[in-house]
Symmetry: C2
Subunit: 333 residues, 2 copies
């Protein structure tokens, strides 16, 4: 049987069923942004790992080594942020084609250091090896969180407001500009920057995780369309997403108009936004959003509502039921 | 500047100098088998990560998926063993070519589970992604150790006896059989098994680490010739290795005689033995070796002595100075 016949998430489900057997009390394994291991009464260790492969996750000729180093760390920080943790130390494995210039690698590590320094992350280990062909980067990230301030994918409740913590779709738009070799101006540069230098929402994650009215949380890596399904599966619920409510940046609107793209489509399924997808107790949403706004100077945007399981996943656009053309990314399909 | 001009260890030195700046007290970063992070008075977290790349570390047609899964975990357990720790949880990232059969992956994970179950390791996370070409596997392993029972590469002392905890060279011999497509009999099968299913010396490592007379320790992954140089660099010392003292298995002796190989050469530079390289207070060696023998039913073999830094690394064979033809593996040279 080919891997493509069960898909990435089918495969993860297949292995996680055996992996998650008989875990000791309090330990959370595969199935969320991070594994959770209790340390003591007041703290848990969070662990996440992400592999980036040349020509799958990035194209070496489209991203500077500095940005690639920065982004490789950022996507792992985002997983820790997705559960409300404080990232602490990173471990970098890298398989390097022999013809790689040392100067390219120096710049790559400068990008890693740049984000590590600003977020006070210690770089404590790694592995370097030869690659016969493609550059492969794996980061493992360790973080900490208080046990009662960790948010999971599995704790969404029916009627929760579904929110996002930033514009969505910029990264997907940036990727389309890169893939199409489109003209660079200030708008397209902004979108490409959002694709290459995502800002992991660590402070936002920690703050939201400290709020009991926040029920479920994860970071958006594969796109809302894919990631909301992770919450639905884990929480046993359905979801309604109102496409017109998706927060779209002025730059993405302008670039979409120019190239006749559908910005709603890009925002729902583009992926790599690395902001947070959150479900909130409906009565508490207004207050929380206004506190969030005054703290982070950004909207906690209501984009839909959690429904019961039978509802499945439905989209509304301009008041009527809608379907996405493209869906979130699956590696094996 | 090409990477090959500074080599793997030159490159690691280059990046570790920037990585290890300003680490908080008690934290050990790049430069040993694992990173060490204090948790509380009685325990430290050990973290290690290793990347295995198809056609660099393994050939898919020469190793079964079960063995590859087993070995991928084993080499990481060995790093924890090399510092005297108890391995606890593993995180697997894997980049998979699209044409891979699900059944192949099932067998791979069976190999991982087999060793994980016997060593009571929890498999708590990972990442699965597509690879355009080669299979790439990255394991990250977390373990624990008591702060006063961790052994480093940096603590060897002049006059220490250098020891190994098992036969060396079997894995190197097994690799030569695979690469040469040589005839399989019980001896060559044994060597190939030693190459494919290394036994991480966790109990041995924990026991040796509890002994104050053991000064420095690491696992042998790149071969004695390469790994003793890691101890020399970290401890600021030299070393004399007596090639005739290297413990060589009867199988490797017989296969070497048959194919006219030099078993001393293979044992000193073959690599992937995944037993332990240990330096011991000279007065304490006899007692320790006899205790080790009665506990593990294996020799703690004296293979040489730590010298001062100016001595460098010297080999003796049949009473006279000798040079190795091949040296330990460097990925980029």
């Amino acid at each position: 049987m080919k891997l493509s016949s069960i898909g990435e998430f089918g495969f993860i489900k297949r292995i996680s069923e055996t992996f998650n057997q008989k875990l000791p009390e309090g330990i959370v394994g595969i199935g969320d942004d991070c594994a959770v291991i209790p340390i003591d009464k007041n703290s848990c260790l969070l662990v996440t790992t992400d592999m980036l492969v040349e020509d799958v996750h990035f194209m070496k000729e489209k991203i500077s080594p500095f940005e690639l180093g920065y982004k490789s760390l950022a996507v792992n920080l985002s997983d820790i942020a997705g559960m409300g943790g404080k990232p602490e130390s990173a471990y970098i494995s890298i398989a390097i084609p022999s013809e790689t210039e040392v100067e390219w690698l120096d710049e790559f590590y400068e990008g890693v250091h740049n984000l590590a320094n600003s977020e006070k992350i210690l770089l404590l280990g790694g592995d370097t090896t030869k690659s016969p062909d493609k550059l492969v980067i794996n980061f493992t990230m360790l973080g900490k969180a208080k046990p009662d301030c960790i948010k999971y994918r599995s704790t969404a409740k029916v009627n929760d407001i579904i929110c996002v913590t930033d514009y969505v779709g910029d990264s997907g738009g940036g990727l389309m500009i890169l893939l199409g070799d489109l003209e660079m101006n200030s708008d397209s540069s902004y979108l490409v920057q959002r694709h290459h230098k995502p800002h992991p929402q660590i402070q936002e994650g920690m703050w939201l995780a400290s709020k009991p009215e926040v029920h479920a949380m994860m970071d958006i890596s594969d796109g809302i369309d894919s990631d909301i399904q992770r919450i639905m599966e884990s929480s046993g619920c359905g979801a309604l997403i109102e496409l017109n409510k998706l927060p779209i940046s002025p730059a993405l609107r302008r670039v979409s108009a120019k190239y006749n793209w559908d910005p709603l489509e890009i925002s729902a399924s583009g992926g790599e936004d690395y902001c947070l997808l959150v479900t909130v107790e409906p009565d508490a949403y207004e207050n929380l959003a206004s506190e969030f706004k005054s703290k982070f100077n950004r909207e906690l945007t209501n984009i839909g509502v959690i429904k019961d399981k039978d509802y499945g996943l439905q989209y509304i656009k301009n008041g009527i039921k809608a379907q996405l053309k493209k869906h979130g990314y699956d590696h094996f399909v």
